[in-house]
Amino acid sequence: MLIGEAAIRAGCRFYAGYPITPQNELTEYMSENMRKVKDGIFIQSESEIAAIHMVTGASAAGVRAMTSSSSPGISLKQDGISSLAACELPAVIVNMMRGGPGLGNIAPAQGDYFQATRGGGHGDYRTIVLAPASCQELADLTMDAFDLADEYRNPAIILADGMMGQMMEPTVFKKAKPRNYSESFMLRGAGKGKSKIIKGLVLPPLEMEEHNWKLARKYQVISDKETRHEAFNLDNAELVVVAYGTAARITKGAIKRLGESGLRVGLFRPITLWPFPVKALRELSHKVKNFLVFEMSTGQMLEDVRLALQGYANIDFHGRPGGVVPTPAEFAIAVEREFRDKDTYGRQF
């Protein structure tokens, strides 16, 4: 709901979606509210695949377009996400992650990190991935996602989970920036001028190579300019938990309890999962030597943390996959248990 309202305020005028739990509230909200805004279009598509391609069409035609789904549906959408990246078309895709693989369940999980941050579909591409950890951020990042997608002409993903989707908090909508997207990228009929082609098919390998490098250069710019993270309670921390989204919220709750029992724990929360805030995390390793990655998965962001820290610090992992949302108390106990025995700390990975 919140995402829907933020999207409409950001000027999104096209939404196509297919029912899947836990994100139906958003589809329902768009159905009701898209028709209330001028030129707002809502389509309940026949499939996830159709939805993403409708979004592609709408994006090519020049409007801000969005689709949303949950894990299995996002797998189906990869056909279109890869195509959007290839054709350099902006779009916002929301994934309210649930337990997986396969049908999994409908409880909050974080198992789609690899899929989101490594492109997800076939081919050499990346998507911008934003991971909100509060309702306020859900609204803010949705608006930002549209701006980033436009700026880099690339799909942007909001990666949240069922808990983020269901939770309510007081939220203030920020003012949306005016859209900055050239009409020259839009397909609106050639008029009297030259006709345009939007395509991802590049048959000659040398030309395809150039297209790949062009995209890669763009991804490099995004990596250099757009990383975001939150640092929490890092002063004098002896252990830093790296967590995003719901896991980061749980961590914040646990940090307080741990502080009361004399363990100084900080939180490093990536807000952009791709680009991953490598530099900031690496700098942190000059001060802190013990890191604990906490995910509601069996360890995916863990790999990015390892790449960022390059062996300069101890890294341990705590995972709760399958739709289990541990309480801050549970997590605090786990951290204490892991960390108490410093000799074995970090041996697991």
């Binding site: 159709a50 090519a60 279109g80 054709c87 397909l187 006709s195 082609i197 395509k199």
Partner: protein, 254 residues
């Protein structure tokens, strides 16, 4: 001297068709371009070519174009048309694209009655990938994935998408044509023009199925492949108007 034949303005200059000699695509492309010229809609037309041989249609037909992934043309066209209802939007699809991998998109765009035009090139094989069996392959027809000939027990029956779509109230006009003879080509052009006119008038979804020769994958000469359409394909896929609802201005009079 009177000029009696020239390149349609809506075909790009200085191109060489990459299609095989005798292929029906180039004729269909030219007809689409001629009709776009005649209706004066070049500047407001947006085309969606498919994955397959015809993906390169954007190098020939001189209108704004965006390629679709395998089978997704009608979904893309839906997105474009909903955003730009005053533009003329068409998708151009082959039989594998429209009747196999994109069946859902085709059926549902038709069922929603999207005001778009679909050109359905039926040559009974997958062309670009090298002549595999298509959903429209004729019973007994030999392809690279039905070497002894299409067998009902293994492969089912040739699918008749035009007849299937006619059942949907959202579909306003369906005609099956062919581009294997001058007479059929003239009829095809008329059908294409009517379909575009219907879209301009806001009538709704229309599809023109075009039986098209593929001499390379049929392993025939160009002339034999034109004959094969008359002698074999047409028996499975009879030509003619399959559905044509009255135009809206006539409806208003009732």
């Amino acid at each position: 001297m009177k000029k009696v034949f020239s390149r349609p303005k809506s075909l790009k200059e200085n191109f060489i068709y990459h299609y095989c000699p005798g292929c029906g695509h180039s004729i269909a492309h030219r007809l689409v371009a001629e009709v776009i010229d005649e209706l004066g809609i070049r500047g407001i037309t947006i085309g969606v070519p498919p994955a397959g041989c015809a993906v390169l249609a954007y190098y020939y037909i001189d209108v704004d174009m965006i390629e679709a992934q395998h089978g997704r043309g009608p979904a893309l066209a839906t997105g474009i048309k909903r955003v730009l209802p005053d533009r003329i939007v068409f998708s151009y699809q082959g039989d594998g694209d429209l009747a196999a991998i994109g069946t859902a998109e085709s059926l549902h765009a038709a069922n929603r009655g999207e005001n778009i035009t679909v050109f359905f090139i039926n040559n009974a094989v997958y062309g670009m990938t090298g002549g595999q069996m298509a959903p429209t392959t004729i019973l007994g027809q030999k392809t690279t994935t039905s070497a002894p000939g299409r067998d009902i027990t293994l492969d089912g029956y040739p699918i008749k998408m035009s007849e299937i779509l006619c059942l949907l109230p959202g579909v306003k006009y369906v005609e099956r044509c062919a581009v294997n003879s001058p007479a059929n080509i003239v009829k095809t052009k008329k059908a294409i023009k009517k379909a575009f006119q219907y879209q301009i008038d806001g009538v709704g979804f229309s599809m023109i199925e075009i039986l098209s020769q593929c001499p390379t994958n049929w392993k025939m000469s160009s002339i034999d492949s034109c004959k094969w359409i008359d002698e074999v394909m047409v028996k499975e896929y009879p030509l003619g108007v399959l559905k044509d609802v009255t135009a809206p201005e006539k409806k208003k009079g009732k």
